[in-house]
Symmetry: D2
Subunit: 361 residues, 4 copies
Amino acid sequence: MAGNSFGKIFKLTTFGESHGAAIGGIIDGCPAGLSLDFKAINAEMQRRKPGQSSIVTQRKEEDEVKFLSGIFEGKTTGTPIGFLIENTDQKSKDYSHIKDIYRPSHADYTYDKKYGIRDYRGGGRSSARETACWVVAGAIAKQLLQNPPAGRTGIKITAYVSSVGEMELKKNYSEVDFSEIEKNPVRCPDAKMASKMEDYIKSIRKEGDTVGGTVTCVIQNVPIGLGEPVFDKLHAELGKAMLSINAVKGFEYGSGFAGTIMKGSEHNDIFKEDGSTKTNHSGGIQGGISNGEDIYFKVAFKPVATIMQKQETIDSKGNKAEAEGKGRHDPCVVPRAVPIVEAMTVLVLADFWLLNKVTKL
Amino acid sequence: MAGNSFGKIFKLTTFGESHGAAIGGIIDGCPAGLSLDFKAINAEMQRRKPGQSSIVTQRKEEDEVKFLSGIFEGKTTGTPIGFLIENTDQKSKDYSHIKDIYRPSHADYTYDKKYGIRDYRGGGRSSARETACWVVAGAIAKQLLQNPPAGRTGIKITAYVSSVGEMELKKNYSEVDFSEIEKNPVRCPDAKMASKMEDYIKSIRKEGDTVGGTVTCVIQNVPIGLGEPVFDKLHAELGKAMLSINAVKGFEYGSGFAGTIMKGSEHNDIFKEDGSTKTNHSGGIQGGISNGEDIYFKVAFKPVATIMQKQETIDSKGNKAEAEGKGRHDPCVVPRAVPIVEAMTVLVLADFWLLNKVTKL
Amino acid sequence: MAGNSFGKIFKLTTFGESHGAAIGGIIDGCPAGLSLDFKAINAEMQRRKPGQSSIVTQRKEEDEVKFLSGIFEGKTTGTPIGFLIENTDQKSKDYSHIKDIYRPSHADYTYDKKYGIRDYRGGGRSSARETACWVVAGAIAKQLLQNPPAGRTGIKITAYVSSVGEMELKKNYSEVDFSEIEKNPVRCPDAKMASKMEDYIKSIRKEGDTVGGTVTCVIQNVPIGLGEPVFDKLHAELGKAMLSINAVKGFEYGSGFAGTIMKGSEHNDIFKEDGSTKTNHSGGIQGGISNGEDIYFKVAFKPVATIMQKQETIDSKGNKAEAEGKGRHDPCVVPRAVPIVEAMTVLVLADFWLLNKVTKL
Amino acid sequence: MAGNSFGKIFKLTTFGESHGAAIGGIIDGCPAGLSLDFKAINAEMQRRKPGQSSIVTQRKEEDEVKFLSGIFEGKTTGTPIGFLIENTDQKSKDYSHIKDIYRPSHADYTYDKKYGIRDYRGGGRSSARETACWVVAGAIAKQLLQNPPAGRTGIKITAYVSSVGEMELKKNYSEVDFSEIEKNPVRCPDAKMASKMEDYIKSIRKEGDTVGGTVTCVIQNVPIGLGEPVFDKLHAELGKAMLSINAVKGFEYGSGFAGTIMKGSEHNDIFKEDGSTKTNHSGGIQGGISNGEDIYFKVAFKPVATIMQKQETIDSKGNKAEAEGKGRHDPCVVPRAVPIVEAMTVLVLADFWLLNKVTKL
């Protein structure tokens, strides 16, 4: 009800503020008997954590996850998986300078109005630090879906940066080489474009400013039949999942907004005799249910609100005030958003995959 | 679980296939004591129903809603509101020609694969006829939110057609006159553009083709504090609601995809002393919670899949076959989508408005 | 949230007041591909309906169920099953005499206080007529569980009357012949005791009074592993299900209240080598999970509140008033409660059986 | 879905095995702005913890709760409250002797069959240690309901031991002095009876045996209107809550099983002019909704399954084996169950109290 759980069968519930003792969560409904690869979980955490490269925030967070339950001798037991990530970077800083200030385009004002109280240290509950818990759960869900019974050859989820500001990779996902993604700090699968984007982000950082961008995500080897057709359509849950990520302003799948100017005779995906389709404007989903084609979608991120410039604002009493970002913030959120997009995607898929086991006799 | 319910407190559960005896639903959690204006409910139904103008399907459906429970002497009693809409247009037609055919870009193939069985008459459960039930529930939710305690002056929801194919109304919502919307069959609040769009839809229909478009929706007089911050952000639920509507391929709110090319220093909405903001790139939502500014978003609709042209396809055994739309379909879905967008929007708001009553002491 | 749904995967949502146009419901989550035996559904309805014998209410209700969706060519399609039962006995009676009266030990007073409004015709939403919808859903769930894959030889659920007032059948369920149950109007599987109970109920009716009793329920051929161990224990959900039935005041399973005076050394069920147990004080459930032994439990029903005698009471303004039952009420509820106990039991089992499909890899 | 959450709005989700690193949970939906009394929380923990007296297990567990989030400067913030209780008594013992043994009337066998894997150390997830988390959440819920707006004078919940084996306190709750409860280790509000019970428990312990008993719970100062009438009746949720507690075999409220032998003319509770009733066989609940009278119910606990005697059993391969309790177990569970019964009761009430805020306009 209060918005801290995601999923129905494979369900993540999280807690934690950025500057409390720890953040963490409970993964409930993960089937028993899954052998966990803890190195793989840690690798996902490393992809998300701050300080990986010169174009992201230089905050140091170890983001070590401690599993407290639900795992025995390396396997899931079917009981809830409790986990913790301690806030090692949590300092007894003086936050009095932001205590009563509403930072522009942050959640300070809305939290105060909604709850009448707010943990003003860091971003409190609205901090993107929360997404570390999503990556933990996503890493486990990924292992579930790569398990042989889940997909023909294992569901494969790949996200990458497709634009930074006006710099856009104008290639279809099928034209790029996914193995390039992790070779550059921007996570753009085109070395040239990645280099331009990197330079641009550096220049933005120098200005003390920030910039937005987009992330594209592709799901391959999807079993047919995932998604519940009316209100819980596969793409509706994917959309909700993406819009849960901080700074996301838009979501489109398949032909997306560009599909609105097409005619039906162009847009319809003609079946081949094996049930696959000649084109894939549908984006792998028809009637809210996966049809076995690749699923692909794009997510729009606004520029990070924290900028290293003075901004006019107000305090909690309505007096004029000034806000200025301090510390170590991301000039562009999309490189670090890549593993988060993947994590939320796999959470949606794991849930629908389990749910689909009870669809027919 | 099976995707036929929407909402948590104010909750709609629906049933029904387009060619069964009836469609209908149960609205659970509507507070007791709401005086219902049945004429207003009927007016919403009229806006959605087929056959309203020359540019939409000419099917005749009366779409008369019968309330069966939960209302006593014109007021809600707090018990579930059961309702029915009979399928009067349901004919004992011969559907054998489509029985085994998978129409391109429809849900025929995915339903068959998911469930192993499919009601092939009309669109079955995937028919947009389902949305008639959403409009019923939305009309009641609208009355709940217009009730004095809900908003300062009553929450106001307005949707309109902002593009048809490449014809786009390039005006911000604040520059158009909402009273124009219902004056033309396209539901575009600009008489000139509406006329062009109408002509274009007519030409598309003559070709036996279809075209997509976009709908813009604006929510005014929103109380501050709606939305649950982490997974059930206000815009995430709005996005999910929109992506539940048949043919929707994308959703963006506030600055949307255009916001990705902006810098933080441009995008941040500076507070005025009364807590309102000078700009509204945030689209009325910060940290997933309404901030009292207008909420606005845009929804992308693909062209309707049923076209009046022969298309190559396959049957359920994988043999080549031919599909051709028959009957009375919409050449462009967006004019009739306008009341549906409003209905789903108000369902989201009503649920969050009720939920917000238990947020703080 | 508002208490009109039961179950998680196999989920029933109901609506309707006793004197509105109809009652009905939506069964969501029934797997696709189940061939329905409509005669068997109707037979369950006949067991519950009023007027079956001289010891139950003489109201005439046909209780004909109309299925509106989710079934195609005799099979479930995986989409929601909407159904209606019209209130044919609904008369345009004058209810003004009870309009403002709070009948003792009815729900009149609490509904008025909770909702501020109440449909005073008949029992409104609190009428036991509601249970007709439960029997519809239960009859479908029964067919699901009798399907070969559900149990070794199909789960079998049998309820019977084990006491009426002080007249108690002092035999264990394993000592009685279930085939006797439906041979007498009391539904007690012992002809002699049934005859005594019948005479007693008749004498109670002559006094214009009512009496309580107990129903025992036995579940046989239960697959091992049903039930979720912590908060959704199998017996906890069975208990909740039983306590949802009107007039129920108590529930015990296995050794029940009598088990409280036993010692552990007596109560523990010793395993045989095949995993079955020598005794069954556990009532077929250990740690909240079925262990394959018979599940058995007892349900306590208070005497029906409507008596054919004058009773002192108050009206809605707090003035003294008088209430007297009119019409055709049950002098003892337990005979008609038998199919309702079975229906709620099978709803619990069907839900856990489906849920158990996602428990392990 | 997997049974590790309790409540709808005020919702507890737990994790943890008895011999893992920690147990803990997330309390979601606690309204913002509640000042927490941590001493009072700790006092409840002390009432539950082992080793309090000579008649309970002598295990030493400090049961110190660490709050990790959702609380700021002593007040709840409306965000989820994460908490941990470390398993300080967790020893690197050798559990190999019970690794493959199914202890009689424990959950070993059913867990193994359900999940195919089991954490055999201690009771794993089925350990009553889990209830420490319930007491944490219950202690917070209690503070919520004692807050002025919740009840006229604050809802008051009192549980006590009403029987140990055959030794039964034959007094109505209204005849006993609640202030006596905590004065003796049995928690029976009658010094004489408590002394007898204590002696009896000691003799049982000497035998290496265990015994059952009952706990009575009384809720006073209940606001009228709590409970959702059809499937989520107040007493149905209370029953489910009680049946979630380890070793519970039965639940009755108001007149309970004794009510089954009463006549309607005796059982009906006659209204007084102020809406209260002369008798209270209804147990404070009518039609599933609280009527403002005292709510009272009784819970049956079987004898603890772990006895200090040799018992015949089987191992996981179906071979004969022998089980014998070791260590420090409770000879009688009811004294320590008292705070657990209270905790689960208050969780039910807090949830319904919040839910009731959206019942009417």
